[in-house]
């Protein structure tokens, strides 16, 4: 199948297919001058201090039109063009509330205060001296896949265009609990407020116990210092929790008696129900999966062999299984999970498939180790307000047509 978003790949596949056709028509013979390609006849380029993708690759984040300021809004990971479980740092999705700040780590301070015995301030040099932990975890925006929740007709977009506000990295940093213990939390301290040094002063409250047990002050992403778009020089990582509270450009944590009820945890990132009430503190990202190959906007190559492949994840822990349906959810078969399958981490699933060329409603349904199962779209939408789109985790359907098209579809 081919992907309309990567013309160079389409061109390659067409060329390869033409070549295969020619080989079938005439006896295969390789001439000496075809063996010696230009790359073999001249010395290659020299070393570079920081490597970049091949100039033949055109994989890019999908930029949404900015909102009220140039840096308000998001860009999505091109899931349909990615493989494995790790998102390249430069393709990690972005969601900013007033742009990417340029922060000098030499002057950046982190303040830990509030209901503690000893308020502490840390330079980045000081934080860099602490023992570190490395963990592989996804980060997913609470608004990911919201297009499928809100749009009455299925938006015709790529997998990344719909679901690309999720990415996965190896994060390395200092355990927040260590610093909280050094400051000494007072008994009345039950929550923290984490504040960003961006132009939105983005702030979220997290219960103290979970912040202490699970929180990481991330310094590194995929082996290098955080990218500016991911919070350089310091971000809070709450593995498996809603992206918005993984506060980037972190400069302050205050230990508080209760939630601060910031704008983002009241007016946004809450789940409005049909009865008008809104569920609050929906911290953990629910179990979810999406088939990335084949997926929306691709073109099938006609009947024959395909590998179905996709990603599954849950904020509750490990993925236990992923099932695949070809008939819109009537019957299911288990996908292969070659591993590694890690908690709160993207997990790759695969399934070999011989397509007979007939129309298919292709779905994946993931179950996590706590028994949470992805709902259907109808089941997800039943209790919630028509304007609700946060934490949409319903089963994605790709409609594959006899005409080789792959479309987003609501069953």
């Amino acid at each position: 199948m081919t992907n309309k978003t990567t013309p160079s790949r389409r061109k390659f596949l067409k060329t390869a297919l033409a070549g295969a056709g020619a080989a079938a028509a005439v006896p295969l013979s390789v001439k000496a001058d075809e063996y010696v390609t230009p790359s073999m006849t001249v010395p290659g380029k020299t070393f570079t201090p920081y490597g970049m993708p091949s100039g033949h690759e055109e994989v890019k984040r999908l930029l949404r039109p900015p909102g009220i300021s140039p840096g308000t809004g998001g860009s999505l990971s091109p899931l349909e063009s990615l493989e494995g479980m790790i998102t390249p740092s430069g393709l990690h999705f972005e969601r900013h509330h007033n742009g990417v700040p340029d922060i000098d780590p030499k002057t950046h301070k982190f303040l830990l205060h509030g209901l503690v015995n000893t308020p502490l301030e840390f330079s980045m040099d000081a934080l860099m001296r602490y023992p570190r932990v490395s963990r592989m975890h996804f980060v997913e925006c609470g608004g990911n896949s919201g297009a499928n929740a809100g749009s009455p007709t299925p938006p015709q977009l790529t997998a990344g265009g719909i679901h690309g506000l999720v990415s996965c990295s190896e994060w390395t940093g200092v355990q927040l609990g260590l610093l909280l213990d050094e400051a000494g939390v007072k008994p009345e301290g039950k929550w923290i407020l984490a504040e960003s040094a961006d132009a939105a002063s983005l702030s979220r409250s997290v219960p103290l116990a979970e912040a202490r047990e699970q929180g990481i002050l991330a310094l590194y992403q995929n082996g290098e210092r955080l990218r500016p778009e991911q919070g350089y020089p310091l971000r809070l990582l709450m593995p498996g929790w809603e992206g918005n509270l993984n506060v980037k450009w972190l400069h302050r944590i205050k230990v508080t008696p209760g939630p601060t009820m910031t704008k983002d945890e009241t007016s946004k990132y809450t789940q409005s129900q049909k009865d008008g009430k809104a569920k609050q503190f929906n911290f953990i990202q629910p179990v979810k999966s999406v088939i990335t190959r084949p997926s929306g906007m691709m073109t099938m190559n006609g009947p024959g062999y395909y590998e179905i492949s996709g990603i599954a994840w849950s904020g509750h822990g490990k993925i236990a299984k992923v099932e695949i349906s070809m008939d819109g959810g009537a019957t299911w078969t288990n996908a292969e999970m070659p591993g590694p399958v890690l908690p709160k981490c993207l997990s790759r699933f695969r399934l070999p498939w011989e397509w007979d060329g007939k129309p298919v409603l292709l779905q994946s349904r993931s179950t996590d180790e706590q028994g949470n199962v992805q709902p259907t779209r109808a089941a997800w939408k039943a209790p919630v307000s028509v304007v609700q789109f946060y934490q949409y985790n319903a089963i994605q359907t790709w409609q594959i047509g006899a005409d080789n098209t792959v479309k987003n579809f609501y069953v």
Partner: protein, 165 residues
């Protein structure tokens, strides 16, 4: 061997942080919880707020807070359970101090942290007055703002059991 272990345990807590300067804490400790703790001195009236709003907010949030291009701030009160819910400050936000907190730290979007506390109280008062949540002659300050009862104050469910701690 035990000596080595004792050494490791002793070193397990590095303590590389410096005791924070009280002046730094005072300057940075600006977030305001729903009960209004930490609201600064100063005050602002609805009429003063209209002047600030007209100068610094209306181009994004529209006349009377009707929105576009930025978020709609007013209207929609009572609409949340309908087929066409409209979520605004007036109809949805549960706590008035959050409005002061957000404006002070994040607005206006082109120059956050540029408003004085006085201007912030005033524009908060003005926005709350548009749908009559506060009276047209209201003055907002550290005492009056936390007492404002937002229409959707009881409209939230704690899905995580997070507040009972």
């Amino acid at each position: 061997m035990f000596k080595t272990l004792a050494f490791l345990l002793a070193a397990a807590t590095p303590h590389f942080g410096a005791t924070a300067d009280p002046a730094l804490i005072k300057a940075w400790d600006v977030s305001i919880p729903p009960d209004g703790t930490g609201l600064p001195a100063g005050h602002g009236s609805v009429s003063e707020g209209l002047a600030v709003y007209t100068q610094k907010c209306v181009m994004c949030h529209g006349v009377n807070g009707v929105g576009k291009p930025a978020d709609q701030l007013t209207g929609g009160v009572g609409s949340l359970a309908s087929d066409a819910p409209v979520k605004t400050v007036s109809s949805f936000w549960p706590y008035a101090p959050t409005l002061f907190d957000y404006i002070r730290r994040a607005m206006p979007v082109t120059s956050p942290h540029s408003l004085s506390d006085h201007e912030t109280y005033a524009v908060t008062a003005y926005i709350l007055s548009i749908d009559g949540i506060v009276k047209k002659n209201a003055v907002m300050d550290a005492k009056s703002l936390p007492k404002v009862k937002m229409p959707n104050r009881d409209g939230f469910i704690d899905a995580y059991g997070a507040t009972k701690r």
